[in-house]
């Protein structure tokens, strides 16, 4: 059993990866970053997080995937309320390609329901529609406190709360849509060179092998 886990610098995604590891799944990590548009701090955090999780699986593979070009492209062209959904659809598409290469069977994300206003069932469904591979969300029914408790017990919490210039803050709109409709999203995407943007990101991917430090 093998899955590609999307890992940010935040609290949730390392916990979701850990829960999969605990079920005996081999996890390959994918971190999307916006360097050099913003600093490398999210990358350094992702490395530290995977190093910490390497206690459960060593060595671990971490892919660093630049999303900055996609973000810049979208930020200057589409309705800002759809940005987050579109970014996430791009991340899943890229992760799916990576999973195919890695012969993995699923994608893992740190999403849970209702934690932020954009994490609605409608939105999750629209995001997931971008790929065929199953998207596993081990945190779906947990609340923030439960997630924090696990993060603390596995030692990722302290790393996750370090301040960072997040890849999302620069490119995040003030308002985002809470109930996206798949038709609207598809209409926006019709105008975009999706395959080209995905391939561009895949070409600039960096692979790291991380062992227990």
């Amino acid at each position: 059993m093998k899955a590609v886990a999307l890992i940010s610098g935040g609290i949730d995604s390392p916990v979701s990866a850990y829960l999969m590891l605990a079920r005996g799944v081999e996890v390959v990590y994918a971190h999307f970053h916006s360097f050099p548009i913003v600093s490398k701090s999210s990358i350094y955090k992702a490395i530290k997080l995977v190093e910490t999780l390497a206690r459960y699986q060593s060595p671990s593979i971490l892919y660093l995937i630049p999303l900055g070009d996609v973000q810049t492209y979208l930020r200057t062209r589409v309705d800002p309320r759809y940005l987050i959904i579109l970014y996430r659809r791009f991340m899943l598409r890229i992760a799916e390609k990576l999973a195919e290469r890695e012969k993995a069977e699923a994608l893992v994300t740190g999403e849970s329901l209702g934690q932020v206003s954009s994490q609605t069932l409608q939105n999750l469904r629209v995001i997931e529609e971008a790929v065929r591979m199953p998207v596993l969300r081990p945190l779906i029914g947990l609340d923030k406190e439960e997630i924090k408790d696990i993060a603390k017990s596995i030692g990722t919490y302290e790393i996750s709360i370090k301040p960072q210039e997040d890849c999302c803050t620069l490119f995040a709109p003030r308002r985002q849509i809470t109930k996206a409709r798949i038709e609207d999203v598809k209409r926006i995407e019709e105008e975009l060179p999706i395959g080209k943007l995905v391939d561009q990101a895949l070409n600039k991917i960096e692979k790291m092998e991380i062992s227990v430090s």
């Binding site: 360097f35 050099p36 548009i37 600093s39 490398k40 701090s41 350094y44 955090k45 490395i47 530290k48 302290e158 790393i159 370090k162 301040p163 620069l170």
Partner: protein, 384 residues
Amino acid sequence: MFRSRERRRIYMDYASTTPTDPRVLEAMLPYFGDRFGNAASLHSWGMEAREALEKAREEIASFIRASPMELIFTSSATESNNLAIKGAAFASRGKGRNIITSRIEHPSVLEPCRWLERNGFEVTYISVDKHGLVDPAKVEEEIREDTILVSIMHANNEIGTIEPIREIGEICGERGVLFHVDAAQSLGKIPVDVEEMGVDLLTLSGHKIYGPKGIGALYVREGVEIEPLLHGGGHEYGLRSSTVNIPGAVGFAKACELMRDLMEEEAERLGRLCRKLIEEISEIDGVHLTGHPEKRLPTIASFWLEFIEGERLILELNERGIAASIGSACASGKLEPSHVLLAIGLNEDRARRGLRLSIGRWTRRGEVEYVIEALREIAGKYAK
């Protein structure tokens, strides 16, 4: 490169500063030219600068086995020492007010400590033995309930003695006290490894390892809290606001990259030359080695001379084209006795008679022989 054709000139003051390696200069030049961007800008110039900055950070961090998140750029070792000591003191004010350091630290450690004393902190100055060694047991004895920081240098700049950092680091770790080490003089000469040394804060400098002047760095272990000295735009993880000196950072990183390959071989070659200096100069009547006979940097030969006062000696050597130093470059302008030589037990008169010869990448055997000969000649002239 820095020898004149007309007259023999021999540079034996590498411990005060080194020439910039031509490969370092070459790496820096584009960042004075069309890659001049500000690393905080969002456009392509900024991105280019940010890429260079982060690559530099990674290179230097890995040279001392740290994570890039733990390394911030400063303007100098002096700034790093100030930031480490005052920054840690102010961040830990709620925990206590005592700081422990040694009597032989660089002025950029001692002066911030004195400033803190004037601002409500208490500083314990630990004495050293006749070789300039700090006894770890003494550090342990002096740690009190309200001790927040211990600051001890890795290697002394005047007499080259290497301190038992790992042992002191262990003690500080056990007692839960922050440990700062000034490694400005040791970097590139002996291994500097933050994990093995057990340090929380570590000072580095670019211009002592063939990098440019105007760039330093401070290692801040993950989880260690310090207050910034400079407030502003929040650069360097908020610890050092200022537009980052990209050419300097690139040059410092290049210097580390070169050191990674050259250090072992250089330390051995220079160690041989340094031993030759020590052995033959110590044989001259009235000349005495200062610092530890073995536990010392492979690049510093230091002495005190019965027959000539330090400044006069520097001028005599300069007459013969030789650049040497009394001790630290900062002290060269003053007539005061060296605080380091006083601390190792010399009286005031003797503490004004120090000599430091420091060698480096371009020192050749012939130069070492010439300097030994010059000192024999000077001894003949002054010794009664």
